[in-house]
């Protein structure tokens, strides 16, 4: 119980075995993907011994499939790799940009979508972008596997929906239809290296007259968990995504937010800026949808 251990299973079954064994014994266990959050925790706030299960050696966590209907991104693929994938970048530019915003070039070499999500920070950059893109979590579980929408995955600050014998395998996204564009923007005080003070991801589909036929909006850092904001999406639906619609979507984001004041920003600031980000991200998404026609 009192010591650290490190295991690196090479199959889903082996990983589940490790998790189940720990669930039975009550010994603490934690999954490791890129490690850019976990290593910081080990050094500072939470040094308690545990077994670290490195999930990077498993095929399913490293696979990147761009299918005709669906895109699958393994939970342990580092951001840098997503950014280097031209096809993915063309299909989901906002999501890739969100992944590209996590930390420095150095962090990019390690940090993963899966880790960003499982860490369950309210300010995780990729989560609102995944929500906007209708992301679905693929979870390996003692009982097989299960799926859930990204917006249901984070259940509180630092808490996720995984059971003791589960881990995140990957994320699925519907392949965006024609005339779809996405974007993610966040606000930070510097140009790099900060945690989001507020973030907003938008995905839009337009018809051939430029009218919005589908929309999703996700926001981050303005509530205990990243949120899907349906009211913001509704404000865009059926419109040409002009200034008025975008402003209304922004207002909806502000209304949906319940931020705190902390060292990174005030309640007032976050409420105001999340609307600004929604407007700006929406405009970019619209531009991309038109360009992607």
């Amino acid at each position: 119980m009192g010591e650290f251990a490190y295991v690196a299973p090479t199959s889903v079954a082996d990983a589940i075995d490790v998790l189940q064994e720990h669930a039975r014994s009550g010994r603490r266990v934690q999954a490791l993907a890129g490690g850019t959050d976990l290593l910081v925790q080990l050094r500072g706030v939470d040094k308690a011994p545990r077994t670290i299960v490195d999930v990077k050696k498993i095929e399913e966590t490293n696979r990147l499939d761009i299918g005709s209907d669906e895109i699958y991104i393994g939970a342990a693929i580092p951001s840098a790799l997503l950014n280097e994938n031209a096809e993915l970048k063309a299909l989901l530019p906002g999501l890739v940009e969100a992944a590209d915003l996590i930390g420095s070039s150095q962090i990019q070499g390690r940090a993963t979508l899966g880790g960003n999500l499982c860490n369950a920070s309210p300010a995780a950059d990729t989560t609102p972008a995944m929500i906007a893109n209708r992301g679905v979590c693929v979870i390996a579980s003692g009982g097989g596997s299960r799926e859930m929408p990204v917006e249901a995955f984070c259940t509180g600050v630092g808490v996720n929906a995984l059971a003791a014998d589960e881990f995140l395998l990957g994320l699925k996204f519907p392949r965006p239809p024609a005339r779809t564009g996405d974007a993610y923007l966040r606000f930070i005080p510097r140009t790099e290296m900060d945690i989001a003070v507020a973030g907003c991801g938008v995905s839009l589909t337009l018809d051939d007259t430029g009218v919005c036929t589908a929309a999703r909006v996700g926001i981050g850092a303005v509530a205990p968990t990243p949120l899907r904001v349906d009211a913001a999406a509704e404000a865009l639906l059926g419109t040409g995504v002009g200034d008025a619609a975008l402003a209304a979507a922004g207002v909806a984001c502000t209304a949906a937010s319940s931020p705190i004041s902390d060292k990174r920003g005030t309640v007032q600031y976050r409420r105001k800026v999340v609307a600004v980000l929604c407007r700006r991200a929406g405009a970019i998404a619209r531009g991309r949808a038109l360009g992607a026609a």
């Binding site: 490190y6 690196a8 290593l39 080990l42 050094r43 670290i52 990077k56 420095s104 150095q106």
Partner: protein, 159 residues
């Protein structure tokens, strides 16, 4: 505590070492292997002083477990110069006075090498954003950016 046997390649040489499961790669490099050129400025991935290149990718060695290095290949600051002498980046850092105290310099040179390896002709903005994970408190970055620009030109000229 049982230690883990790690086999890895550092600067082209096969290296074996033992590490406790929770030890960071930075600690293994510095404490176990005595490779002190890689520096620790924060231990939380915020300063880049511990930058190394792992399988061609720039990473913070403080944010990796030493155990994760099993079977991997890495380049540290000690492997940037070779028998023929300094790397162009090292020469340009000296020429441009791109270091003052020098504690961040190994990390900057490793990070800049990783950049030029993938993008031989980066513009100023690309350099600044790529190096945003490397903190320098002395120079204001001006001379560092110029040194990297000049190194890129020199490498292009030599190529």
């Amino acid at each position: 505590m049982s230690k883990i046997h790690v086999q890895t390649t550092i600067n082209g040489e096969q290296v074996d070492f033992l590490c406790p499961p929770q030890q960071s790669l930075l600690e293994a490099l510095r404490e176990t292997l005595g490779m002190l050129g890689t520096k620790e400025g924060c231990g939380t991935g915020d300063c880049g002083a511990c930058s190394i290149i792992l399988n061609g990718r720039l990473v913070c060695s403080c944010l990796m477990l030493a155990a994760e290095a099993q079977g991997q290949e890495m380049t540290t600051i000690e492997g940037i110069a070779d028998a023929d002498g300094l790397h162009v980046l090292q020469e340009k850092f000296l020429e441009h006075a791109a270091l003052q105290c020098g504690i961040c310099t190994p990390g900057f040179i490793v990070a800049a090498k990783a950049l030029l390896d993938r993008d031989p002709n980066p513009d100023e903005r690309t350099i600044r954003y790529w190096l945003a994970g490397n903190l320098c408190r002395c120079t204001g970055y001006d001379k560092i950016v110029r040194a990297v620009q000049d190194a890129a030109q020199q490498l292009a000229y030599e190529a």
